[in-house]
Amino acid sequence: MNNQTLDTISLGKTVTISRLNCSKLIKRRLLDLGIINSTKITPVLKSSIGNLVAYEIRNNIIALRAEDACLIEVIN
């Protein structure tokens, strides 16, 4: 149950968001995309080059770079 960040989660594994650990402006944007506490999120695709990962959240697919994803703390 220990806290992990979203970028370390392997593909296809569903986790729950527990905390957003970032500055106000980025936080507001993440919130507006539906990334809020206790929402389930699943990494579904990895970009062929680089560290972009697409996540399924609330029936949507959104892509986040690893440096943004590591600001999101999740629990199993």
Binding site: R29, L31, G34, I36, L45, S48, G50, L52, R65
Partner: protein, 449 residues
């Protein structure tokens, strides 16, 4: 919509132009998330009579266009697509400024039928600013493909504003939209938005600061009171200072506001609420409202409605196949463009040479002086025909093919694959599309050399 107009008024352009000044002109804002077919609706409604406006002080432009229905004229303003009005990117600033300060007769919010929940966030935010809202649920064909059905009547009841389902490509559905726009603008329908219910702590904080906001801000901006209150308790200083600049009143440094905020923070402290979490509470309240509505009005026929898409995506973005597929597809398009364009080019070139003979003959028979003939034939005509025969065929081949890729939805996958390359140039994968479009010009250029 061109059709629509011609069926209504058979007059020529001049007549239509005049009628603009005889009748009422209503302004209508088109708002919505990015990629919901807003521009398709805009183009459908305004036909070819549109121009892009460069609004003073802004680097991003937005388009305006006109359209008429019965005896009324409508001016549509297509503002940049955004997910929210509270974050602070440039597009959002423009969208927010427009909605807050250019009072329009009606705001049409275009939402994606396959992602209703996410879209409602923006709907609820705009509801805090204006009442005359129409929600236009677009991309119905996509929803149908994915087995999603939406109960529009119920959605309209829950939101308190007219809701209409459209398919931007179908003129008939746009006609219905235009009728509702007409009804709202001419006060035949009064939308009464049912605003988002916030968690008690937010409602209380708003109630505390609202009277002070009301006191210091002129009545002219009364529609913004709630919006400003929310911005203040959320401590969204950038958003507030932007409003300050527009209305010319110092809000953040106002002593009464400061005292009131202090009071609110004390109240929060007593209840063990962190004031930095207030924006979380505001957004999650809105999301909670959206979620509830969606659960009521949306029905998913197939549970795993995007399983096929997922499989395709896996291949298109895989480590092994992603880049080769992309290169092959783009390469194929360029090859078709460059090789395929040769034939029509040649034909055009032959045609123009053939025509040139006749024109020269014509000019000679009317005894045109040599110098004039040289200017017209060797200068104007040759250059024009050369440009047309070289440039037109590749354009006519490349752009439709590119549009095909876009319609298939492949381009977002390209952006996804190439993001890290673009990141190195301090940009994002989105730019891949612009770059590919640029190749269209290169294709023409390489043929020349």
């Amino acid at each position: 919509m061109e059709l629509l107009n011609s069926s209504k008024k058979k007059g020529n352009t001049q007549k239509r132009f005049n009628s603009r000044y005889e009748n009422n002109i209503y302004t209508v804002t088109l708002a919505g998330n990015p990629n919901v077919g807003k521009s398709t609706i805009f183009n459908g409604l305004t036909g070819l009579r549109q121009h892009t406006g460069n609004w003073t002080g802004k680097t991003v432009t937005y388009a305006t266009g006109t359209c008429s229905y019965e005896d009324n004229n409508f001016e549509f303003v297509d503002i940049p697509g955004t997910y929210s009005l509270m974050s602070n990117s440039e597009e959002e600033e423009i969208a927010k400024d427009h909605i807050c300060f250019n009072k329009t007769d009606c705001t049409v919010i275009v939402v994606d039928s396959t992602r209703l929940e996410r879209s409602l966030n923006l709907v609820y935010q705009i509801m805090e600013i204006t009442n005359n809202i129409i929600v236009c649920v677009n991309l119905l064909d996509e929803a149908q493909k994915k087995g999603i059905t939406i109960d529009f009547e119920l959605l309209s009841k829950r939101l308190g504003v007219p809701v209409i389902g459209t398919n931007g490509k179908k003129i008939k559905s746009l006609k219905k939209l235009l009728k509702i726009i007409n009804d709202v603008c001419t006060n035949k329908i009064f939308p009464t938005p049912i605003k988002a219910k916030y968690v008690p702590i937010i409602e209380e904080s708003v109630d505390m600061i609202f009277p002070t906001v009301k006191k210091i801000i002129p009545k002219k901006y009364s529609h913004l009171y709630k919006w400003i209150s929310l911005g203040l308790i959320e401590n969204n200083s950038k958003s507030i200072s932007n409003i300050e600049a527009k209305i010319g009143i110092n809000i953040l440094n106002n002593i009464e506001i400061k005292n009131k905020l202090e009071e609110i923070y004390q109240m929060l402290d007593k209840r063990n609420v962190n004031k930095d979490d207030l924006n979380y509470w505001i957004v999650s309240s809105i999301l909670f409202n959206s979620e509830n509505i969606c659960n009521e009005v949306c029905k998913f026929k197939k549970n795993d409605y995007n399983s096929r898409d997922k499989k395709i995506d896996k291949i298109l973005t895989s480590k092994i196949w992603g880049i080769p597929i992309m290169l092959t597809l783009l390469g194929l398009i360029f090859w078709i463009t460059i090789v395929g364009a040769n034939y029509p080019s040649q034909a055009l070139s032959t045609f123009f040479t053939w025509l040139e003979g006749y024109i020269t003959y014509g000019l000679e028979t009317i005894n045109t002086p040599n110098w004039l003939q040289s200017i017209l034939i060797d200068g104007v005509y040759t250059t024009a025909s050369w440009v047309i025969s070289v440039m037109l065929p590749p354009m006519a081949i490349f752009f439709p093919l590119f549009t095909l890729l876009e319609d298939l939805g492949y381009l977002p996958r390209v952006s996804f694959n190439l993001d890290s390359c673009f990141k190195k140039a301090c940009s994002s994968g989105k730019q891949a599309l612009t770059m590919c479009m640029g190749f269209g010009c290169n294709a023409a250029r390489y043929r020349r050399s």
